[in-house]
């Protein structure tokens, strides 16, 4: 698929997502995931991480995309933005293992011409990271993500208001990002 076409599609989806279109956002994240997997796996070998950790990093990149989505300028191309984020997270992962490294930014074109990976076998370290959250937070995140319940159902189950559920989810997501980063208590 042409680089420009994919980049433009992602840009359109991101623009819609920033305007609040949840379906577009889901399509964007689902479309990005296999590409991120390819980038990460390709670089894991290069920087000495094993494949199991690749899925961790994919999840970390998705978190970063989510939490920093408003840093993307709609007038700029989407490719460099996402590749820089992915590269930063790879460097962070490498640095956490005690080595400094310079990584070139992969050209988006190279990534797209390679096979995307839909392998969902890796569970990633998200379970361990979830363990770092409080029990209530974990329940809430599980309910909304793994069990796929709506905000309303979750609110009823946990006896909270819908607004409180959303606030709690947002805090939990930020806490997850901090846990991946290696900061202990950012809550």
């Amino acid at each position: 698929m042409g680089l420009r076409v994919v980049e433009r599609e992602w840009g359109l989806l991101m623009r819609a997502a920033i305007d609040g279109d949840a379906m577009a956002y889901r399509r964007l994240l689902v479309s990005l995931t296999p590409v991120l997997r390819t980038v990460t796996r390709r670089n894991c070998a290069r920087i000495g991480l094993d494949g199991g950790e690749a899925e961790d990093i994919v999840q970390e990149v998705l978190l970063a995309i989510h939490l920093k989505r408003h840093t993307w300028d709609v007038d700029r191309p989407f490719g460099p933005w996402i590749m820089t984020i992915a590269r930063n997270k790879l460097i962070d992962a490498r640095r956490r293992r005690g080595n400094r490294l310079t990584l070139p930014i992969d050209d988006l074109a190279d990534i797209l011409t390679a096979e995307g990976s839909d392998d969902t076998a890796d569970r990633g370290d998200l379970d361990r990271m979830l363990g770092g959250l409080g029990e209530r937070q974990r329940d809430l995140v599980r309910s909304l993500s793994v069990e796929g319940r709506s905000v309303r159902e979750t609110a009823e189950r946990l006896k909270m208001s819908e607004g409180a559920v959303r606030v709690a989810l947002h805090r939990a997501i930020k806490a997850l990002a901090a846990l991946y980063r290696g900061d202990g208590d950012e809550n």
Partner: protein, 212 residues
């Protein structure tokens, strides 16, 4: 929990919308400047002969230097905190202000007798310069850091240092309106020192606080 489940959570969280980062940065700089202005007017105040001084060349020149430093550093900061955007021209533009100051200081050395150099350099207000510029920088620095934490700087320390340049540029502008030492030689020595200190503080804080 699989990646697909994480995506579910992120999609639900989409409703928490935020302003574009650039707007937040501008807001942070503006708010910080207001705080610094308030502190300045309350505790320090402009020099009494402000009107007179504006008729000279050296006095307004101080503002040219400090404001252009703040403005160019702010443009650079915006790029540093945005992933995928190269700093380009702005990586160097902020050097214009110190260079301009160097040229002015050199000119002063040339046109004044050597006996006058040291007194001009030392001036009378060096102590205040070194205290007040960092002091006035604190409000802007805090506000800018708050905005930067919403950004994604690839190099947190560097971003912190440039934030220090913006904050101290604002502070130096205010201080310059109070200080009666208009000698470029004085400015090149003491303002640079004060601004350098704030940039260093910004670097240290940024390294810790701006990771994402």
């Amino acid at each position: 929990m699989r990646t697909e489940d994480l995506i579910n959570a992120l999609v639900v969280d989409l409703t928490v919308s935020k302003a574009p980062f650039r707007r937040m940065l501008v807001g942070g700089i503006a708010l910080g400047s207001i705080i610094a202005i308030a502190e300045f007017l309350f505790w320090i105040g402009v020099r009494p002969d402000f009107g007179h001084a504006m008729e000279t060349i050296r006095f307004p020149f101080k503002f040219v230097v400090t404001l252009s430093l703040a403005a160019t550093a702010a443009r650079l900061l915006s790029r540093l905190a945005t992933p995928g955007v190269s700093s380009g021209f702005w990586a160097w533009a902020w050097l214009a202000a110190p260079l301009l100051l160097m040229v002015a200081a050199t000119a002063e050395l040339i046109v004044t007798p050597a006996t006058a150099w040291w007194p001009r350099l030392v001036g009378t207000n060096a102590r205040f310069c070194l205290m007040l510029i960092p002091f006035l920088s604190l409000g802007p620095l805090a506000c800018i850091f708050a905005a930067l934490r919403q950004g994604a700087p690839t190099r947190p320390g560097l971003a912190g240092a440039v934030a220090g340049l913006v904050a101290s540029g604002v502070a130096a502008t205010l201080y310059a309106s109070h200080c009666t030492d208009d000698s470029p030689l004085f400015m090149a020595t003491w303002y640079s020192l004060a601004i350098g200190m704030v940039a260093l503080i910004g670097y240290v804080i940024g390294s810790r606080v701006l990771r994402w």
